[in-house]
Symmetry: D4
């Protein structure tokens, strides 16, 4: 294909339909300009049915409102993450059916029918203190059209609580494990299932936890094969990746 | 089920077929003893067709040889990772058809037919210096029965090299991105595909690379959604996770 | 529900004073109580000899209240750590005799008689600024039924203050050493006694103290044998471990 | 007092139009002006070609006001960075035409004509959340007399947005790349242009971003040659260096 | 020279069977023996109940030999840690019955009868690669006169292997948990027993393991109460602390 | 001396004036009990004329007040560091002549005449933003009775400002260098003088400054011989050490 | 194949002196040359004005040789960095005039006349121990066609040595500052010149230098405006960036 | 003085003895050129009788030899640090009386009489493993003409060994404390003396010692006032600073 384009160019030069300078300039951008990237983007939305996601932190209330207003006119679901209550109030003014998850700090607007998948994503969390991350993951996976189950407070300090839910966990197509402190839950689950496990370290803990670093390193070094990891407190990222897998 | 077991126990106590002390002891282990974990393990091999994996580093040559010898009697494929040439030599004595990948430092014994999957895993690497990790991932994914394609030396410094392979990359069911230095390749690919991307930071680089930390942090903070990460240089872990997804 | 209680139940069943169904119902919450947002580990006391402890940080006031209310119906002592005054106020509404330690941030409910052990735990602290951690450790060790002595402000900068209390320190069965800054107190005491020393680094200090990291590393590298370490500011964990040892 | 001004003075002395004592007095603050709490480096403009810049953070409102008042009497532009609104209010009282950039936190006083250079500096930013740094860089480069273009929200997660602006970026004499999270934008641009690229990591992100460390390490390890880096969030430093290069 | 020996000496003096000068001379090395390059802490056994231990790393072969030679004349057991084979060879020349543990790198001289305690210390290790640390702990605990049991390769990736040994683990008076990678084993065991758990992180692993840091942070942040931690790879320290507890 | 004490003990045992058990107990504490540590402490105050120093951070207002009230009855100067305005108000109620340095956060009570030394301590600071640390050092050195000179805003970015003060700096007996950002001032001064240089890194800066870490590492790695370093922002510690040297 | 060469080709096509197919064949490797293990970025020279550079570390001797052999057929200079002597020997076999800089670890092949620029790059280094980095920078800048001057051993500990060379340094168009330890040289020079300063931290030093981290942080936090930084020991990167600026 | 120089210049311009351009150029260097820095350096040697010090690490054997040969012709003592045996052999060929300290890795040439000071420097070390640093400090302090006493193996784990030497330690004018592991010795000594204490952290230890970081942070956070710190393993730096103080 590149070859064809260069040939065409050369033919034009030969026929003197194209200046040497113009041809030269065209060739400078050759290796990447021919890609229809803008098309890719549109294609993306059509293809995966994924809404644009608005990362609200670091944006002003006005910016968040304007983005929602613009997107509201389109036919996709909308998801805003790391949003505060003030942002929600301003969004509500322009998207009346917007919903806010206080713990998870998400704003969602459900435009498409909730096309529940057959297979489900299991979100398993070590403690009740991990709830914020669980909720962000839950809202993300749901708005992306997945069936999601939550299993909370099954940390390894009382490991029998986990075992009682192993059937549900094993039944999932993808498993998101949310844990702070030492994050051992990811390794234990990783050793018991044959499904993709996406681990989310949380910043829950104190002292030598160093804002989630302990759980992060723990999960990256998991002795159980098949565990992959996302950023600390990144419930959104885990759910997004899980959704891609769940829909394969 | 728990309930049924406790009821049975209580009935035995009531009928005085069981001493109170014996019942008490039985109940101490209650929440987990009833799990048939050894069965799970056997089940695991049957179910996923995955061989046991031997992490050779930190083991003596004799230990590695003995483990291979024992496993050789079984009908599974065998994979040894982080093995050196001396280990391979000793393994060959007992498993004549064992194969060694010098770059990837793997020993493999192919017992089952190479049941190529229809779908394939793409391993995309930024530079030729990442080859050791690529090879470990390739051997792992292959011995686990997956079709695998390698695309090497497509780092973002010459991004058109990457674009020429986008069709192959997009065609994969799962994509493993291997990159050292700043690991930007994971974000760029993550932004162009709708498939699960598993990023492997490598220790390639120097100075403020800090043994792969730069690439690791970079990948964990990827601005592209859907990227999950494994440990530095962990080609095995990425391929193992990719294989689970590829076979879903 | 501890061992003695279950034994009593079983004896009643054996003597046919109690129906199997009634016993079963009494025991059905044994492994854990599902509160929706939390799973209270009732089996814990049987398994590890201690009731569950409520880590209040990251929980809502309502959640803390609900957990105390549920546990209040049982015959165990209750301990809540990292609790704020608002949580205490709400707990008091349902557990009138709950007590709050402002410095230590603990809520305690004493149900069992304070069965003081003969042997005692000594809590030795370097400075008055370490008081929060000392109090958390003191309340924990006390509610777990131990005799506890506190020795405060004996840091190594004026080492004679320490020597004046060596008899009391040597007389303990376990010693908890609480120190911030460089944490040298743990090494000095570790070199003078033949008892288990549990060191708690505190975040007291500034600059290159890095939130307690200096004291933590110092204690982990103690040149005195026999010193073990818990997380930064983890007075609870130190006291819990000390209690297990004190009761051996 | 810049080179031209001193030359004028010397010429007047030579022509004996000016007394040596009068010239001496005019020049006596040349090396620096002692304000008691600060020594304003008047010689700087002669030495490095630029007036001194006022780093406002850590100074009191009174100090900032006094410094602006002193400098206002001279013929140079004035730039204050990391200034808050209160500082601006007090400066306005003595420099009526001072201007405040709320996002960029800069106070500027334009004394010299805006001697736009022919060549321009391009400031390219990955996300809208990087705006504070972009604005600081923009104000700095502008007050130093450069023509500046801003290109915002072209992060690599949607790389086609970047490609649409490649002509503008390539047309610049120097390029400042501002990016948080994984900072991959610097490498991608670095691989596409033949101009100096100055990368500014921002603290935008969370978790394992560690306050900009991820982007910083990423940029330092860029696989694209020719990229140099300044401190996290240091828009001023990047623009200052870019200005030097733009005026070569 | 332990308590019993000094008491015997004093009794002899009291009965006037021994001259004061002779007794004095026997005791004159009591506080420590000056070897020039080292001061052997003879008083230690009296003070903390254990003889001094020789940390061989960083000492010359000659120094190690001289220290063993001096201590050999006394009636205590001798333990050298972090010793290499060359050191052992030189020690053997002066202490013929010295024994070397190649994996654990310890030199031991058994002078006192192996006064096995009734209660035992359980050393539980995640993987076979942790053997060096296990052996150091084993030799230390043994030479200090404890009964010790080893349970190897029971990491959480195949958690049923652990459960098969829970009876043995629960039967111990103290439990040492040795684990590298993510060190999750400490939390899992900590949640299942009511005995003191001393966790030893090992440097086994690679990449983001950072020489044992991952396991160390993991263990310090254990969600299971009652776990205390020693330095990375510090099998000696764990065993020493365990011995103190086991003999309480 | 030790010997003499033991001899006396043995003689008493021989004469049966002392029980064997009592002698044994006396000898357990042998190596340190004979040290009159409390005396040392008294001696310290008499000898060096140094007041007790009150580290106020982490203490309650009431505690600070009580300590000042108690010390006020004695004839020493009093110094409180890291004190807030509220603490000062409460101290003033009991020590009317107490003085507060708002920037330096010190409370001082001058009881002794200001016995200015002949020799002086020079405090040299890079920027006006380092003022808080400079003031803490200044108040400390002054209350300890030293003559002190301050030289502010002579950072290396305008190195001629420094050179103008070299005579004053060289005339000091000890030099305290206070600098944030990259802390280069310590090295430059260290290379120009033959006096002890005590470097104080400050937390002034942002981004990769990491709360003073950059300046700290810089100063520890100074290429100029003779520079020693104290903790970040530790103006007190630098002045205390400087005072000891100044009074030698 | 650079711009001039492509233009010549196009002109020939236009004049119909060259067949389209022949031209096409000549250009078919334009975007990159697939070597199997590497993709040589031929388009690079057109895009960024420089030929590709061979980073030899992590490549096999055979790979390095093959890449040089391929590039040798083209009309560009060749630069290999981080090469060892063995690599050089193998390269020499196919590029007889290749030259090796032992200290700088570079292999260079000079194909184009050394088109010395009028303006020059000054490489200023703190100590003789920084020579390896200086040489890498020198070879890089030279092969890219720049005039380069080296000024060695002018660290700030003897700052007069630096001042003696200020005229040379000020005369440069770009200045590369190479320094290890605390890296103060970059700030001092940055405060004295009005030219772009590119700082290269080196790993020279020990202890808290942490492999160059101290100098890196120091340079990133430079109080002198206009300093930009490259990776630790990255002489190549600094020279590459300097060359771009020098040729503006 | 500056003023005078400028006046002179102006007068010359006025009298037309000096071109405006020449005057302008002279004033560019105004603030620092008038400093006779080369003189300062010569003055330094004369004044403090300190030899030049040769930091051998990173230099070639030939460079070390050449520097010694050059300095040998002068009348100063010579000190080389971080030298290996090969360097010593080559130095010996040109400086026959050169002496090598194997442990301390120093080469010394004693040209001046060993002008022992009355006052002495005490070097106190925690363990025999710190010997390398002790020896470097000892050789440095000695060659600089100080009386030095060494007290080895008095770590806090057996604190009575330290107390026996307190008189010697207190008698010193300056005290160097050398300690690895947790470095507690510095705090203990700092609390017992009224002399300057210079602490040298060593890299002795393992695991979470992180190459001396634990001891470094510990010493920087010392609760004892008056302790200053040098780089890890920097025996030279400590001795150099101590020598300056000892000679005050």
């Amino acid at each position: 294909m590149n070859k064809a384009e260069i040939r065409a160019l050369l033919e034009q030069v030969k026929k003197q339909e194209l200046e040497v300078d113009t041809a030269l300039k065209a060739m400078e951008d050759l290796p990447y300009k021919e890609l229809g990237f803008a098309k890719i983007d549109n294609h993306r939305e059509l293809r995966v049915g994924y809404p644009e996601v608005v990362y609200c932190e670091g944006k002003t209330v006005e910016q968040v409102k304007a983005i929602f207003q613009f997107m509201y006119a389109k036919e996709s679901n909308i998801l805003g993450t790391r949003a505060n209550a003030e942002m929600y109030a301003s969004v509500q003014a322009v998207c009346p059916e917007a919903r806010y998850n206080t713990l998870g700090r998400t704003i969602t607007v459900q435009k498409n029918p909730a096309c529940q998948t057959e297979s489900y994503i299991a979100i398993v969390a070590a403690g009740t203190s991990d709830a914020a991350v669980v909720e962000e993951a839950f809202e993300t996976a749901s708005i992306l059209g997945n069936k999601v189950l939550k299993i909370i407070d099954v940390g390894v300090a009382g490991i029998h609580r986990l075992f009682d839910h192993m059937d549900t966990i094993r039944g999932a197509k993808v498993i998101i494990v949310v844990a702070g402190m030492e994050g051992a839950l990811a390794s234990v689950i990783g050793g018991l299932v044959d499904k993709p496990v996406i681990a989310v370290p949380t910043s829950v803990g104190y002292g030598a936890n160093f804002g989630g670093l302990a759980a992060l390193l723990s999960m990256l070094n998991s002795c159980a094969s098949g565990v992959t990891v996302v950023n600390i407190d990144n419930g959104f990222g885990a759910a997004y990746a899980a959704s891609i897998i769940n829909k394969l």
